[in-house]
């Protein structure tokens, strides 16, 4: 017994040390796994030949080509337009919903709460095909019989779809922010003579702002990245950025895609910095 007692702390310490080394090794390997492909991608965007197997020399020719690529520029503009408009719409709708759900009890509230989480959990491809069926078999025929207009899939239908999948994400994030909300602050404002409108804009809104910004940022990123829902609602219209990239990636590997990917990588790193800055405000 005494021998065991003497031995166990020592072996425990050794075990700890081995454990710590294993954790470190695991972390190093995983960060390599995450970043080596990305680093190779960036390096070959500066290659001066079409190959992505050997680095033959450095040049910026692929970036120059990108800046002259009309199709790409149109796709980028489409993505930014849809991203900005769907973010604006879904942020307003999602924030109002979070306020309504957090502060009031009413009929169908529980059922609606379930509906709000559903778009987050159902497979994206299911949402995509459901909207394809809906626009073609229900929405367009109904519009046609009402106004006689013959609509087809295009940028407006992509926008309608993006707003639909963004609302729940904004809702969840703003609602989380409302959980720790100190409502005595609002009461204080009202006691000091502020009306409801003023209380909302001067007290409630500023306190919710980090949550609203966080939600908007997620919505913008999701919209900008989405491929699956977009491809089913885009029809033959001019593509968004992910649709354009997808068509290139399926065709093969070229340094031009590497250059484009590098630009997008830098943009998303900018978004990470933004989101961290937003979190710091909390």
């Amino acid at each position: 017994m005494s021998v065991l007692r003497g031995a166990s702390p020592g072996s425990g310490r050794l075990g700890m040390r081995i454990g710590r080394a294993t954790l470190m090794l695991n972390a190093i390997l995983l960060f390599a796994f995450l970043y080596v492909p990305i680093i190779i991608l960036i390096v070959f965007s500066f290659n001066d030949t079409r190959t992505v197997a050997r680095l033959t020399g450095l040049s910026l020719e692929w970036y120059v080509k990108l800046s002259h690529n009309r199709e790409l520029l149109t796709a980028a503009r489409n993505s930014l337009t849809i991203g900005a408009s769907s973010t604006a719409a879904s942020t307003i709708l999602g924030t109002l919903t979070a306020l309504g759900m957090d502060r009031f009890r009413f009929r169908f509230r529980t059922a609606f709460d379930a509906v709000l989480y559903l778009p987050i959990v159902i497979p994206e491809i299911v949402m995509g095909i459901s909207l394809l069926l809906f626009f073609n078999l229900a929405f367009f025929p109904v519009i046609n019989s009402i106004s006689g207009a013959r609509l087809t899939l295009g940028l407006p239908t992509i926008l309608l779809a993006h707003i639909a999948f963004n609302i729940p994400f904004v809702y969840v994030i703003v609602r989380a922010r409302l959980v720790g909300f100190d409502r005595t602050l609002e009461e204080a404002a009202r006691d000091l003579g502020a009306n409801e409108w003023r209380t909302f804009w001067r007290v409630t809104f500023p306190l919710l702002l980090p949550g609203i910004l966080g939600g908007a940022l997620i919505a913008f990123t999701l919209s900008l990245d989405d491929y699956l829902v977009t491809v089913f609602t885009a029809g033959t219209a001019s593509p968004t950025l992910p649709l354009y990239i997808y068509s290139l990636v399926r065709r093969g590997v070229t340094p031009e895609i590497n250059a484009l990917s590098t630009v997008l990588l830098l943009a998303s790193m900018g978004l990470v910095v933004l989101s961290l800055a937003a979190q710091r405000r909390e």
């Binding site: 700890m16 470190m24 080596v36 197997a53 109002l96 502060r103 009031f104 159902i122 990588l265 998303s268």
Partner: protein, 288 residues
């Protein structure tokens, strides 16, 4: 804290109404339509037959061993990917949470950056690495270790690798959130009471950080089982999963009702799994 009274009772629905109406039209109605379409016959040239003719044939076709096999294969792939993400992600989350305070934020950011990066870009990065003229083959050929490129891509392994690469950050972040809150002195307490490290981990740390692990499982398994992009790009048409199968029904096969039946089956499976997860995590939250 809930407001009552006539005015407030009207205002709640008023705030919720715009989004509710929107989601009713652009989310609930489309899903209901999938349900309807899955029970009617397809048209000759695609679409659905008019007038609508009710049928159960598409559900009957789903139990064909070919399709059951694809569902099982997708579930197996999702399981392997989830296991890999959790088994490697958990120790990484432990490592980050035990790092010195000033290193924690940067390390976490290293996990976040891929999380925020365009999924297509990351899948493409992996495709390039494994491709015939890609990084790994380039290095091996350059070193003279091989003379013809290895076929590393367009098989089930490359799909699994691509999926792990794509969803790994989704697993680390929730597990980190749980592990960071875990009080490590509890491990010391357990070992003072005579438990060895393995036992202390299994009996103390794992149960207390289980919510994070379960969240990671849901966040990885759910999107992976219905994945389309990764099997399409990394599988090159050779690895069939539910996602690629559904996509085909709305593309070349032009069989919308069959695709709808598959989608609905997939959705029911996923939602049932998530509900089960929420039920079990609610039970754990209940005070003893």
């Amino acid at each position: 804290m809930t407001e009552t009274g006539g005015k407030a009772r009207r205002r709640g629905p008023l705030l919720v109404l715009p989004a509710a109406a929107y989601l009713l039209v652009f989310f609930v109605a489309p899903l209901a339509l999938v349900l309807v379409i899955s029970f009617v016959e397809r048209g000759r040239a695609g679409g659905v037959r008019t007038p609508l003719a009710a049928t159960l044939q598409y559900y009957a076709r789903l139990v064909d061993p070919l399709y059951v096999g694809i569902f099982l294969k997708s579930a197996r792939i999702a399981l392997v990917v989830t296991l890999a993400c959790v088994l490697f992600g958990y120790p990484l989350a432990v490592f980050i949470s035990r790092s010195p305070q000033r290193l924690r934020s940067p390390l976490l950011m290293l996990v976040m950056i891929p999380f925020w990066t365009n999924f297509l870009v990351r899948t493409y990065a992996m495709k390039q690495l494994l491709g015939a003229e890609g990084g790994i083959n380039g290095v091996l050929l350059g070193l003279g270790l091989i003379h013809t490129p290895l076929s590393l891509i367009f098989n089930e392994f490359s799909v699994v690798l691509g999926l792990v690469y794509g969803y790994f950050p989704f697993a680390v972040l929730p597990m980190y959130a749980s592990i960071e809150k875990f009080d490590l002195t509890l491990i010391e307490a357990a070992s003072d009471l005579g438990a060895d490290l393995r036992r202390a981990f299994l009996r103390v740390m794992l149960p207390l950080t289980l919510p994070g692990v379960l969240a990671a499982v849901v966040l990885v398994f759910v999107p992976v089982v219905g994945a389309f992009i990764t099997p399409d790009i990394m599988g090159g048409g050779k690895v069939e999963m539910i996602g690629t199968l559904i996509n085909r029904q709305f593309g070349v096969a032009r069989n919308w009702p069959f695709g709808s039946a598959m989608s609905l089956t997939l959705m029911v499976m996923v939602v049932a799994g998530v509900l089960y997860y929420f039920r079990s995590s609610e039970e754990k939250d209940r005070p003893l």
